[in-house]
């Protein structure tokens, strides 16, 4: 199979994904964008002892040690694969493996059963070492039906393991998947280790006699059978999953019992059936001491906003319109009203942006989130915020475009839209997180910049970051800095209150309604310098245009410099932004393993760039910029620094893989 170039074909619509990290040394260098408060906590790699030990069930079969494994659960979108993957992730996290996950689901809510476009998959990469990506080639594919096998088989390495739910391999289902013959029988899978397991039949037998469970409900429990089987294979703790089942189905005893029975049946099937000869052990990954949890980017981003609200003492108002994949932020924030979070599901994207901005005028922390087409719709309001010079955070969970594009697939092609996608000169700071966990830090940093500089700030996350998850060292609350709103409370000039009289950061005063004596009007019409009155004076317009730009540029004084990771004195720099960081670091490890020299650097602040960015990029004769677009950061770097940077571009709705980057670097050394 072609891992580096080929487009997903129609027959492989879910062709994923991702990048391996075999035997990588610990990098720990999330440098270059260390925020003051998390400096101490991001480094991994010191060996430490986890609290947990292995699961209670003893192992009766041959046990093999593995360093890393990639498991992919694939089935019909109604088969509960995301749930199975999610539960497997929790058990894996609790066991102490490092991990990364990637859900890969269709845009259709419920495509017809058994069809190729109805296949939903969940991939998890877990290891006893530091992991940078959700992995490229699955070692194990759980295929709940023929369509799932067909769409996911191209990803699996030859020699990989396939566990097929053979009950679903009927003529009818084979036909729907376009198989002329049963691949479990025609020899076409000879290169793989294939296990045929009648998951449905066994699940039905296991749930027989449970009061009140219908056949249909019993059949639906088969995802727990699959989960139980894979949990046995990799020695996952069972108590974590069983506890979850008990809690989740507390009010439905029969479903609880059926799911428990199916899970146990799967686990026991692995242990007792002669089919499986080996159980695998993956030691816990060495990690820095601390308390960890698993998080995806969406939740981390939401919590970062809440943390910033707490630390700034500004009540959070989040307004957005439902849009994939940004809706997750609205859902998560809506759950936390006890933090004083106000969430509004607005009538449209434009209203959402205006509501957040209106709240900002009132002294609240106004945030709006969106994706894809919503970015276009909000741009006029962001321009207004730039002229108002009020704090506003805009979260863009980027997805494949243009237009509706591929709503559930990732891309990072909104950088130039964020940078330049408004009429007139409208500079806006831009930040992009690199990992799910870093979404927390970047959300917090975006609020700090917005509030300190009185400016709209763009956060460019993406579908991949939003959905994928990793173990995350929970930050110490006390280590987070306060964010000072510094509201204007009194007149700042002999002639009264001057709403556009700036401080040494060029930020203007934030005087909120309710403050006596500071009544003032702001608007989208050009402001006279200092007084804020309407002005059509040309010289004033030029001065204001330059002041707004200078203010944004000045933020560079206040952010960490860009640090290159260059142990060998390389000639080639891999420069990245956003979610490509994992693949870039993994590719660099691979290159260094065979003695190649390559440097890496990653930008979290895209506007302004860290002040030393020019020095860093000019130090390398070759610069390669991997991007999930056709060269947007590359364009900015070339234009700004007059260097011959080249883009490694991929726009397939899937993340960039380490092996393809490794090849690209090799070709240039």
């Amino acid at each position: 199979m072609n891992r580096t170039g080929g487009n997903p074909t129609d027959s492989q619509p879910l062709r994923a994904t991702l990048t391996a990290s075999v035997g990588e040394p610990n990098v720990g260098c999330r440098t270059g964008r260390r925020f003051a408060y998390n400096e101490q906590r991001r480094r991994r790699g010191q060996a430490a002892t986890p609290e947990r030990t292995y699961p209670g069930k003893h192992m009766t079969k041959q046990v093999e040690q593995r360093e890393r494994v990639i498991v992919r659960f694939a089935g019909d979108s109604g088969d509960g694969m995301q749930l199975a993957g999610d539960r497997f992730t929790s058990a894996t996290a609790v066991l102490g493996n490092d991990l990364a996950t990637l859900p890969d689901f269709p845009a259709e809510i419920r495509a017809p059963r058994g069809t190729l476009h109805g296949v939903s998959a969940f991939q998890i990469h877990f290891a006893s070492r530091d992991i940078l990506t959700p992995g490229d080639e699955p070692n194990v594919l759980v295929a709940m039906n023929p369509a799932a096998l067909k769409t996911n088989l191209p990803l699996v390495a030859r020699g990989g393991t396939i566990i097929a739910n053979e009950d679903e391999f009927t003529d009818r289902n084979l036909g729907k998947a376009g198989y002329p013959a049963n691949p479990l029988e025609d020899g076409s899978l000879d290169a793989y280790q294939v296990y045929r397991v009648p998951m449905e039949s066994i699940t039905l037998r296991a749930t027989e006699g449970i009061d009140g469970v219908t056949n249909r409900e019993a059949t639906r429990a088969k995802n727990f059978f699959a989960l139980g089987l894979v949990s046995w294979m990799y020695g996952r703790p069972t108590d974590v999953t069983l506890r979850w089942i008990d809690k989740k189905f507390a009010s439905r005893a029969e479903i609880r019992a059926a799911n428990r029975a199916a899970f146990d049946a799967g686990y026991n099937f692995g242990e007792t059936a002669e089919l499986f000869g080996t159980q695998y052990v993956i030691d816990p990954a060495p990690t820095r001491p601390g308390t960890y949890r698993n998080t995806n980017g969406s939740n981390a981003l939401a919590w970062g906003l809440i943390a910033a609200s707490v630390k700034s003492r500004l009540p959070l108002l989040y307004a957005s319109y439902p849009i994939t994949p940004a809706s997750e932020l609205l859902h998560e924030l809506s759950r936390h009203k006890n933090f004083g979070v106000r969430t509004i599901q607005a009538e449209d994207e434009i209203a959402a942006a205006n509501m957040a901005l209106g709240a900002a005028f009132g002294g609240h922390l106004g945030v709006t989130g969106t994706a894809g087409p919503g970015v276009d719709l909000k741009s006029e309001t962001i321009g207004l915020a730039a002229v108002y010079e009020l704090p506003l955070v805009i979260v863009d969970v980027q997805r494949a475009g243009p237009s509706t594009g591929m709503p559930t697939k990732t891309e990072a092609a909104d950088l130039l839209a964020a940078m330049y996608g408004r009429h007139g000169e409208s500079p806006v700071p831009i930040l992009a997180p690199a990992t799910p966990g870093q979404c927390f830090d970047v959300a917090f940093e975006a609020v700090r910049i917005a509030v300190t500089y009185r400016t709209p700030v763009y956060v460019l996350s993406d579908t991949f970051l939003g959905n994928s998850s990793e173990p995350w060292p929970i930050p110490e609350i006390d280590a987070l800095p306060d964010i000072e709103a510094n509201f204007a409370l009194e007149k700042n000039h002999d002639d009264g209150f001057m709403p556009y009289l700036r401080n040494d950061r060029l930020a203007r005063p934030w005087a909120v309604p309710g403050t006596p004596g500071l009544e003032h009007r702001i608007g989208g019409l050009e402001k006279a310098d200092v007084t804020g009155h309407i002005s059509y004076d040309g010289d004033n317009h030029e001065r204001m245009t330059r002041l707004r730009a200078a203010k944004v540029e000045k933020i560079a004084d206040d952010i960490a410099p860009l640090e290159a990771d260059d142990p060998d004195g390389a000639e080639l720099l891999l420069l990245g932004w956003g979610s490509t960081e994992g693949a870039i670091k993994a590719a660099a490890r691979r290159v260094r393993e065979w003695g190649g020299k390559v440097a890496t650097a990653h930008l979290t602040h895209l506007n302004p760039f860290p002040s030393n960015t020019g020095e860093v990029v000019r130090a390398y004769p070759k610069i390669l910029i991997p991007e999930m677009n056709t060269g947007q950061l590359t364009t900015l770097i070339r234009a700004r620094f007059l260097v011959d940077a080249e883009c490694y571009s991929k726009v397939q709705g899937q993340p960039i893989h380490a092996p393809e980057l490794e090849s690209a670097v090799r070709a240039r050394l």
Partner: protein, 337 residues
């Protein structure tokens, strides 16, 4: 019951007013500035939010807090503020193009939510700032720069639209009738929830005389149907004409002498059912016919911002004040020592 001694001057900014001479906006501005001291709310607790159009300048002339937004978006801009800060008195000023064309979607959603806003619709039935194109309230056949052969679009009836969105306060008044305008502004100011006040406003440059039938001394007694809650609906110099509900259930204008006073419809602005208000809103096809003015509907419904605050209070009671440490440490965690 003013708690502070304020005058119109306290609400008048130092900016030169720059509408065209004779514009109806002057009269509205004067009425609003004069009313403000009577509300007992200090200038720093009042915010005017405007969109784009001649009416958009209104915010700059009030010595209160103010936001001049982008075209059509005053309602959500003000909604965000009012939801965050229910302690403020938040006013929206928008023209017919701003509120009903580019901003139509926002208007209906603000009305259905019942956000605490006072929305003043300056309806002059024309685009003035862009120098004379027909608007969504212009009549069919209107000849303008963009419709030299006459407008083809059927116009909106703003009150029907507001009532259709189940607005809780819906009223209409006239720019030149200072007393009625002031009374309507006062009632709008006192309403909990969204108040929607349509003000027929003359544009002397591009649509002069659109409301003459309602405002001319000679005709106004015969064209203004002044609605008073609890009173029979009648008009004319001697109250000789009135409104009845005919056998088909529709409102009809009749000579009182022909039907008797008891047959007249008694206005009920507080009825939960909006159908009377809706019928009254569509009684006049154009403001050249006898046209109801006054409060069509004023009812109570939960106010949006208050409801959010209540949810927050309930969540705090149930879950306790937000604890960041607890939030981040919720779910499955593990410790590496």
């Amino acid at each position: 019951m003013a708690t502070v001694e304020l005058t119109r001057k306290d609400f008048t900014s130092d900016q030169d007013v720059r509408w065209c001479p004779g514009c109806g906006d002057y009269a509205i501005l004067a009425s609003v500035q004069s009313l403000m001291p009577k509300l007992g709310i200090p200038p720093h607790k009042i915010v005017f939010v405007t969109g784009i159009g001649c009416a958009g300048r209104f915010a700059y002339y009030m010595d209160t807090y103010g936001m001049h937004g982008i075209h059509g978006r005053a309602a959500p801009l003000a909604s965000g503020l009012a939801i965050a800060r229910p302690d403020l008195s938040t006013w929206v000023v928008a023209g017919d193009g701003d509120a009903l064309s580019i901003g139509g979607n926002h208007l209906i959603h603000a009305l259905r939510r019942n956000v605490p806003l006072k929305i003043l619709l300056f309806n002059n039935q024309i685009y003035g700032l862009t120098k004379g194109q027909y608007s969504p309230t212009s009549e069919v056949g209107k000849v303008t720069k963009s419709t030299p052969f006459g407008a083809l679009d059927h116009p909106f009836n703003p009150l029907s639209l507001a009532l259709g969105a189940e607005a809780t306060f819906v009223a209409r008044t006239l720019d030149v009738d200072r007393a009625h305008l002031t009374e309507m502004l006062h009632q709008a100011a006192s309403h909990q929830g969204t108040a929607f006040l349509e003000i027929y406003q003359n544009c002397p440059v591009f649509n002069d005389g659109a409301f003459d039938a309602l405002t001319d001394k000679a005709t106004r007694e015969h064209t203004q149907i002044r609605l008073e809650h609890g009173e029979p609906i009648r008009f004319g110099s001697e109250g000789e004409r009135g409104v009845i509900r005919n056998d088909g259930g529709l409102l009809e204008i009749v000579e009182v002498a022909n039907v008797g006073e008891d047959a007249l419809v008694v206005h009920d602005a507080h009825a939960a059912d909006p159908s009377l208000a809706f019928s009254l809103a569509s009684l006049a096809a154009r403001p050249t016919d006898p046209t109801p003015i006054g409060v069509f509907r004023a009812v109570d419904r939960p106010v949006y911002g208050e409801a959010i605050d209540l949810q927050i209070a309930n969540a705090r009671e149930k879950l306790g004040d937000g604890d960041l440490h607890a939030l981040l440490n919720s779910g499955d965690t593990w410790t590496v020592s």
